[in-house]
């Protein structure tokens, strides 16, 4: 799984952020920027975790609520709420998406050897979404595989199903 976390020769730089009480991370190479939470336009007939779309310098960018997606409860909007803009590859095409986070923390460097595979049990998440786990201070950072989290089957299947239920 390590090879998915790229960046240096044997060092990965990871942007860490909080969802509920847990610390997550995404590889810095796929992060474009971090925005303050601003008004989001909800698109009808989409599942709950699709927060809506925002205007990113003239481009319309969809935003996903990771907490809802991982079934960790609702995201309360606070001053710390952020949108992490990531660039992911969906169906071999690079796409820009936003992810809602409770707060963004810092950029941490991990040596490749210290990143471990995700445990089979013991997390709330589908292990397909996890690129690896790394120790930090006294806790863990769950490093997400953004391409898997935002893959078309994950987003598209849900939007399609939601649209059907809404229309039916």
């Amino acid at each position: 799984m390590e090879e998915k976390v790229t960046g240096g020769t044997d060092i990965s730089q990871v942007l860490t952020f909080k969802l509920a009480d847990e610390v997550y991370g995404v590889d810095i190479m796929s992060v474009r920027e971090v925005l303050d939470f601003s008004s989001v336009t909800k698109v009808p007939h989409t599942p709950d975790f699709m927060v809506g779309v925002i205007n990113l310098r003239g481009n319309v960018v969809p935003v996903v609520d990771l907490k809802k997606k991982f079934r960790l409860g609702d995201t309360e909007r606070t001053v710390n709420t952020c949108i992490i803009i990531v660039e992911v590859v969906i169906d071999n095409e690079s796409t820009v998406l936003g992810a809602l986070a409770d707060s963004v923390q810092e950029v941490v460097e991990f040596e490749h050897e210290t990143i471990e595979d995700a445990p089979r049990i013991g997390t709330h998440l589908n292990t397909d979404f996890i690129a690896g786990m790394a120790k930090k201070d006294n806790g863990f950072v769950i490093i997400l595989d953004v391409n898997a989290v935002f893959s078309m089957t994950e987003i598209g299947a849900c939007t399609g199903a939601a649209a059907e239920t809404a229309a039916g």
Binding site: S39, T41, K42, V43, P44, H45, T46, M50, G52, V53, I54, N55, R57, G58, N59, V60, V61, P62, I90, D91, E93, T95, L97, F150, M152, I155, G156, T159, G160, A163, A166, A167
Partner: protein, 687 residues
């Protein structure tokens, strides 16, 4: 072999040349002796051969060489254009096209050899006939000349059945003509003999036809009229300076003084008429000649300029330019908003200036993407020609409004639906020649393709004079397929709608052309994807007309900005009829039926808030936006209507590709996002 960039340029150019060549060949079929067309064909062939050889497409060069030789002989009037020659030339176009996409293809494939042999033979045969076949008189060089023609018919020319106005008309058809009638000889009313001719004419004609052709027009009246034909010298480039100009240059005279003197001086013409040297009519004719020659010269320089100033730009660059302009429009809207909020006079002035410039820039950018639809139309000439021959029908395609401009992306996506519709007309519409004659129609069928502007839309009409749509057959077929119930009574419009149903076809047998029933539903879907509409009108026995209504551009729409639950939505303004107030409590109906009365007309409505699952309390007074599609009216309930909003369409991206009730998004002046509602889709879903 992979293509380097030079070869790619050649392929692009050659593809364009082939298109032009094909057009010219098809035109040549109708007017086989047009020197200009033959010259055009030859030029295109020559360029393809020359640059083909230069960039390593030897196969193409070899094939074109024999054809070029033949056309060279046509050009020098050694041989005439024949039907097989045109057939082979068109075939050659197809093969060259294949060769362009597959450079490995060799010039000795059976078809290519057949073509080469045909043209070599043609050239050889006619070489022997050089002496006999030569046409003696014909300038045939395609050069425009201006002639001064005077036509003074004798008083009783009309006695023998000659109508001078027809002769003038014939002249006018030869080129651009200015006609001046002399009325000086017309007597007082009580002395007029009704069958006498009192008029005479001066005609200034600019044409590429030789003088003999003009003389031929008057061939039957030569003895009854006085006719002179003189060529006119056209250009006076190095004319000598006028006296006034020289004096002015030397400083002996100021501009005002010169003006004064010139005003006092009577014009030369007036002086001559006063002195009785020439008649007023003669002066008028001379003046008209002056204007005519001037116009012709202007036209010439204009066309020269146009060819010199066109450049080739990759379309991606245009697309990114349009994107940038789109963003500029959004930012400009924000600037105007900020300026009006600050209420600073200086800033308002600047904002206004920017607004004006941005709109101008936007219009200009959009116009760059506009293409004439004529090139698409011309593609169909070939289609009609080949298909009608295959099906044993005689069909002529006429096109109008080819100069109508429409967005590049719309044109690209319009090709396939149009091919479908025209194939349908050829296969189902136009009857076989014997059936047509039996029905009292001319053996030759006509299909017309017409494009025109209508507001911010473009209308494209496809009309055929075939057998029309058999409504009974359509209805029976629909019943058999279970699309409508057995005893349904349908209006004509409903019946035509059935044609667009998926899997529908009335053709008894499946032909290679149509009848599989996968045409019209795809056509309708494609047209609707372009935010257009399609309408059928038909009269049994006399023909069918299909009207496509398409937006001018896909990048920008005129929208109606509305709010639902504090969120902005945009409805396409082109189909909005009216907005009326909707009082919730007044319209609460027990049965749950959603219909309101608008000026004694029942209009069904859709509450968009419910349709989109938007939470929150509905306001007491809402608005109903009434749209009309295909003559039917449907209302959509929204919280409030903000106003019209011209907007740049942004795609929602792949993440929302399955959302079908929203066709895109737009960034508003304050930076928030408004969703564009796909009304047609919702309408079709509920309808």
């Amino acid at each position: 072999m992979t293509l380097d960039s030079n070869q790619q340029v050649f392929v692009n150019e050659a593809t364009e040349l082939l298109q032009e060549l094909e057009e010219s060949l098809l035109e040549l079929e109708n007017t086989p002796d047009s020197a200009e067309l033959i010259a055009r064909v030859f030029r295109a062939m020559h360029t393809i051969k020359g640059s083909g050889a230069m960039f390593g497409f030897d196969n193409i060069a070899a094939l074109v060489h024999s054809i070029e030789t033949a056309y060279d002989m046509v050009r020098s009037n050694v041989i005439c254009v024949t039907k097989p020659m045109l057939d082979y030339s068109l075939k050659a176009c197809d093969i060259i096209r294949e060769m362009l996409s597959d450079p490995e293809m060799r010039a000795d494939s059976p078809v290519a050899v057949e073509i080469s042999e045909f043209f070599t033979r043609a050239a050889n045969i006619q070489k022997q006939q050089v002496q006999t076949e030569k046409q003696p008189y014909k300038t045939a060089d395609g050069v425009l000349r201006t002639y001064r023609i005077t036509f003074r018919p004798s008083h009783n020319i009309m006695m023998n059945g000659t109508n001078p106005s027809l002769l003038l008309k014939e002249l006018a058809e030869m080129g651009s003509a200015t006609v001046v009638a002399h009325t000086a000889d017309v007597p007082e009313l009580n002395e007029i003999q009704p069958e006498g001719c009192y008029l005479s004419w001066d005609i200034i004609l600019t044409t590429d036809k030789p003088e003999n052709d003009i003389r031929d027009v008057f061939i039957f009246v030569e003895d009854d009229a006085e006719i002179t034909i003189q060529p006119v010298a056209e250009t006076f480039d190095d004319r000598e300076k006028k006296l006034g100009e020289i004096l002015l240059e030397r400083g002996c005279l100021t501009q005002e003084q010169l003006g004064e003197v010139l005003n006092e001086k009577k014009r030369l013409g007036e002086l001559m008429v006063e002195k009785g040297i020439v008649s007023e009519g003669a002066v008028e004719a001379a003046l008209m000649e002056q204007v005519h020659v001037k116009n012709v010269n202007e036209k010439k320089t204009l066309s020269a300029e146009v060819t010199a100033s066109s450049i080739r730009v990759p379309s991606e660059r245009l697309d990114s330019l349009v994107d940038l302009v789109g963003e500029l429009v959004t930012v400009q809207a924000r600037l105007s908003q900020v300026a009006s909020r600050k209420n600073d006079q200086d800033m308002l002035k600047v904002a206004e200036e920017v607004e004006r410039l941005v709109w101008e820039l936007r219009d200009n950018t959009m116009s760059i993407r506009m293409l004439e639809i004529g090139s698409t139309f011309n593609r169909f000439k070939r289609l009609v020609r080949d298909l009608s021959a295959e099906l044993g029908k005689e069909i002529e395609l006429v096109t109008f409004g080819g100069e109508t401009e429409i967005d590049k992306t719309v044109i690209e996506k319009l090709g396939d639906p149009l091919v479908h519709l025209i194939r349908n007309s050829i296969d189902h519409g136009i009857e076989k020649p014997e059936d047509r004659i039996a029905a009292g129609k001319p053996a030759k069928g006509h299909i017309s393709l017409q494009a025109s502007h209508s507001g911010d839309s473009v209308l494209i009409e496809i009309t055929d004079d075939g057998r029309g749509i058999n409504r009974k057959a359509v209805l029976e077929k629909a019943k058999a397929k279970g699309l409508v119930s057995e005893n349904a009574e349908l209006s004509d419009r409903d019946i035509y709608d059935l044609i667009f149903a998926s899997g529908f076809s009335t053709a008894a047998s499946v032909s290679s052309v149509s009848g599989r029933g996968v045409g019209m539903d795809v056509v309708r879907r494609n047209i609707e994807a372009l935010r257009g509409t399609i309408e059928i009108n038909s009269a049994e026995g006399t023909g069918t007309t299909i009207v496509l209504k398409l937006p001018l551009t896909l990048a920008i729409i005129d929208g109606l900005l509305v709010t639902i639950g504090g969120q902005f939505f945009i409805l396409p303004l082109s189909i909005v009829n009216e907005c009326i107030e909707f009082n919730r409590s007044e319209n609460r109906s027990g049965s749950g039926r959603r219909i309101i009365m608008v000026r004694n007309e029942l209009v069904p409505y859709v509450p968009l808030r419910g349709f989109f699952d938007i939470r929150g309390e509905e306001p007491e007074i809402q608005q109903i936006v009434i749209i009309s599609v295909d003559g039917r009216r449907v209302g959509f309930v929204v919280d409030s209507v903000v106003g019209d909003h011209q907007t740049v369409i942004k795609s929602l991206g792949k993440a929302f590709k399955d959302i079908d009730c929203i066709s895109g998004a737009s960034v508003l002046g304050d930076g928030s996002v408004a969703l564009i509602i796909d009304i047609m889709k919702i309408y079709n879903d509920i309808g």
